[in-house]
């Protein structure tokens, strides 16, 4: 057996020690009620390696069976269990208790940028409506007689980064244009700018979405504070790799003085 193996099995318990030295913790969870609701505290018994979603499930199974929470994969792949944990937008399934202070209550509340349905569940349906407004993919004619295309890996790398998105909508949750200014009608938000970037930079795509990004999707409202990039659980560099290049395309097409002049002549 290799050294690495024995080291690993010895090392793990101490690494998770922060949580396992305690046997219980308190969770402060947002509960809806007819009067508007508030935080309620629940004791939770700790298990090694526990994540916030485990604690929520334990509370459901033993204390509050009607506690509403949305989740599916419990492995950071589906983007269902988004919430605000101690004020930070995170996936509950990927937030280990060992990363949180256990000597004070852990606060879990729903995403604040979306209308509340119940407890930790919010109405994220606006996201599905917004996506429909973005022109869908349309490929260029096939490259080969058998109807297939040729793309180099180097040319699809950046699109693949955007396509990692699991649609957890945490970026939409923290974007101040949506969260504070509620400009949902004028601004599609970081998730959908990333989606548009994935289409725009797709080597096969033949649709031009730049005018729509400027006029209907409100790309100008983003003032690159990078809040979205910081919370992305898939570590997509939303601001630098998706939004800024799209903004550059808008500038190129509509605000470049030479091109502007040419447009005047053409019309």
């Amino acid at each position: 057996m290799s050294d690495a193996m024995s080291r690993k099995t010895n090392a793990t318990p101490t690494k998770t020690g922060a949580a396992s030295s305690r046997t219980s913790a308190t969770f402060r969870i947002w509960r809806s009620a007819d009067d508007g609701g508030g935080f309620r505290e629940y004791p939770v018994s700790l298990v090694p390696g526990m994540v916030v979603l485990d604690a929520v499930h334990q509370i459901q199974a033993t204390q509050a069976p009607d506690l509403a929470v949305r989740w599916n994969c419990k492995a950071g792949k589906c983007g269902s269990c988004s919430a605000e944990i101690n004020g930070s937008p995170k996936l509950m399934c990927m937030t280990r208790l060992s990363t949180l202070p256990m000597d004070e209550p852990v606060t879990v509340e729903p995403m604040r940028a979306f209308p509340l349905i119940k407890d930790l569940v919010t109405d994220v349906s606006s996201n599905f409506r917004v996506k429909k407004t973005i022109a869908p993919f349309r490929p260029r004619p096939a490259d080969a007689p058998d109807g297939t295309w040729r793309m180099r890996q180097a040319d699809v790398d950046r699109v693949q980064e955007f396509r990692k998105c699991i649609e957890c909508f945490l970026c939409q949750d923290v974007c101040h244009v949506l969260r504070e200014h509620k400009m949902h009608d004028q601004f599609i938000g970081p998730r959908f700018l990333t989606y548009a970037a994935a289409l725009e930079m797709h080597p096969l795509d033949s649709v031009d979405r730049v005018a729509a990004l400027k006029d209907q999707h409100g790309i100008g409202y983003c003032n690159i504070t990078r809040c979205c990039t910081k919370v992305c659980p898939e570590h997509i560099t939303i601001t630098e790799n998706a939004i800024i290049p799209l903004k550059e395309r808008v500038v190129d097409q509509f605000y470049d003085p030479v091109k502007k002049l040419l447009r005047v002549f053409r019309t």
Partner: protein
């Protein structure tokens, strides 16, 4: 009582890969399509699929063809597959994959710019089109983004409680929407079940909360037949530590990229037991195995890439013999490739990004430096609704099934990568034939008495609260414990008989399941209702497993450890008898046509 009613030509239940593909196809045929998702759109279990989609594109090895894929699938399923489905699947999956690219999917590329394919267990040649280790996400997102522009009505967070039939024909469904807890009725000329699996019947599983066998159970109670329910796939590599992540999948892609299995003595034990029918294709030394994963066409595959049923049993044997890892599994090591590759760490992060991420964040393990500790996890059910191979229609007219909730393509064991291709091939077929059925048959009237009965039954858990009642979560946990310990990877007659007795008492407890609160987004209530499906499916699994007195594929009997030729001539079918009890029978499988037989023989070399 009047309920909100929606009417469609084709109603699809389930919005994973199979459901979305069916809805897209039906919609393309020009009929009105409704699509029901138990969760939000794009969150279905397909999103979890990692390694890839199997299709004989022959982009990486031009010796591949549908014939080899067909023979691999039959061999992997130990010849109790529906050979017609295996044939259609092998022939049509390349087109289904290419079609995804035309819809915007971005697969990893070969050097000459085509779709890259990787090695996987039981596939003779590199066959899995993939996107790192997040292929399922790519597949579901592509179908979702394509589908939403096709005029399909999507009903999210809606759970079906009963499938309605009139005069023996499927007519629609009753269910509730999660947000408000309101009941709705869907009337349709044809219904497609695409509800996925039933892993939640077990304690250790890679499946999400949704995998409660709804489609299996809805079909069964509507008089359709279930087939092959004894065949459960225990995926050899699930996470085992820490406890909170137990069961989460570790992709077979780790082994496809060169990962090896080691016991506590550091021995690569998979070389010790290579089955005879795979011996000719399997490397007998480490050097050859490594050359294979590096793409040497003259090398044979390493034994870690044998079929999942076999690898899972070998792991169990190591653990039983006292050579397991500290937490009761074995070691899966990809970090070792550093000895062979100069840029191994970067290579691992690039080819297995979500595995790297998953272990780093959930287990404090850096897989580029240390081995993983893994053990089998309940992953997939080969059994499901018995369907016609060409049309995917069940024995109930107007009722179709596709994907994991349908039986046939996989036989006794599914090859990795054959699930995503199954979803596409048979999702499309189900949509196509459901649309055709809908055009040829006017919708039949729904019986309002059935609707009322379904609703009354569904709200019982609230009435039970007045008389104390059972905690639905506790009943579910008890069921999972029993199925895990009594009808798990290693089975015996006496334990399974005990399981039947336990299921009877769990059914009585489930009938008393009580919930508090109101109907709005109430997970306790949802758990109580899902329990009924889980109990039906668990009984079908157990009864079928008792009937199959041999070991084959995912079904291993300690009391009958060998494969018996006679049992290869039939499938086991369960259905609801007129009195309401579960009937089990052996259904002879039809003879394979000579040309397919020839392919199987040719590929045995």
């Amino acid at each position: 009582m009047d309920f909100e009613t929606h009417t469609y030509d084709v109603l699809v239940i389930g919005a994973g890969g199979a459901g979305l593909r069916a809805a897209i196809e039906a919609s393309a045929a020009g009929v009105r399509v409704g699509l029901i998702c138990k969760s939000l759109l794009g969150k279905a279990h397909t999103v979890m699929a990692e390694g890839g989609v199997a299709a004989a594109l022959a982009n990486v090895d031009d010796r591949d063809s549908w014939k080899v894929h067909f023979a691999d699938t039959m061999r992997g399923g130990q010849y109790v597959n529906n050979w017609r489905m295996a044939e259609l699947h092998a022939k049509e999956s390349p087109d289904r994959v290419r079609e995804l690219e035309a819809w915007g999917a971005v697969f990893d590329r070969t050097a000459d710019g085509r779709i890259l394919q990787r090695n996987f267990g039981g596939h003779r040649y590199p066959r899995l089109a993939h996107v790192g280790d997040r292929t399922g996400l790519e597949l579901i997102r592509t179908l979702q983004d394509h589908g939403v522009h096709r005029g399909i009505d999507v009903h999210m967070e809606f759970t079906v409680v009963r499938l309605l039939t009139t005069g023996g024909r499927a007519t629609g469904v009753v269910g509730y929407e999660r947000e408000r807890g309101r009941f709705k009725v869907f009337s349709a000329s044809a219904v497609v079940l695409a509800t996925g699996g039933a892993g939640r019947a077990y304690k250790i599983t890679s499946n999400s909360w949704e995998g409660t066998g709804d489609g299996h159970s809805l079909a069964y109670h509507a008089s359709a037949e279930l087939m092959d329910m004894e065949f459960i796939q225990f995926h050899p590599t699930g996470m085992i530590w820490p406890p909170s992540v137990q069961g989460i999948l570790v992709t077979e892609g780790v082994r496809g990229e060169g990962g090896i299995l080691l016991n506590s003595e550091g021995r690569r034990f998979m070389f010790d037991s290579i089955p005879d029918n795979y011996r000719a294709q399997t490397a007998d030394n480490e050097e050859e195995g490594w050359r294979y994963v590096q793409g040497d066409k003259n090398a044979r595959r390493p034994p870690e890439l044998l079929t999942r049923d076999h690898v899972a049993r070998c792991i169990m044997n190591e653990v039983k013999a006292g050579r397991g890892s500290p937490r009761g599994g074995v070691f899966l090591d990809i970090a070792w490739i550093k000895k062979r590759l100069p840029n191994a760490e970067e290579h691992i992060r690039r080819k297995l990004p979500s595995m790297y991420h998953q272990f780093k964040e959930l287990a404090d393990i850096d897989i580029t430096k240390e081995p993983m500790e893994i053990g089998p996890t309940t992953h997939y059910i080969m059994g499901g609704v018995r369907v016609d191979g060409d049309t995917q229609m069940s024995s109930v007219p107007g009722l179709f099934a596709a994907g994991e909730c349908a039986a046939g393509i996989n036989g006794a064991n599914r090859l990795g990568g054959n699930s995503l291709s199954d979803l596409l091939v048979f999702g499309k077929r189900a949509g196509e034939y459901a649309a055709q059925f809908a055009r040829q048959n006017k919708p039949a009237a729904i019986d309002q008495i059935d609707v009322k009965a379904a609703v009354d039954d569904a709200v019982k858990p609230f009435d039970n609260a007045q008389s104390g009642g059972e905690n639905p979560y506790a009943v579910q946990t008890a069921l999972q414990d029993k199925m895990q310990s009594l009808v798990g990877i290693v089975r015996t007659e006496s334990e399974m008989q005990r399981a039947l007795a336990e299921l009877t008492s769990l059914k009585a407890r489930a009938a008393k399941a009580a919930v508090t609160g109101h109907r709005e987004y109430n997970p306790g209530w949802h758990t109580a209702l899902d329990l009924r499906h889980l109990l039906t499916v668990s009984e079908a699994i157990t009864r079928s497993a008792i009937e199959r007195k041999e070991s084959r594929g995912g079904h291993f009997r300690e009391d009958f450890p060998d494969r018996v030729a006679e049992f290869g001539t039939f499938n086991i079918v369960t259905n609801k008898a007129p009195g309401g009890s579960m009937e089990v029978r052996r259904l002879p499988n039809p003879a394979m046509p000579p040309e397919l037989k020839q392919i199987v023989e040719d590929q045995q070399k």
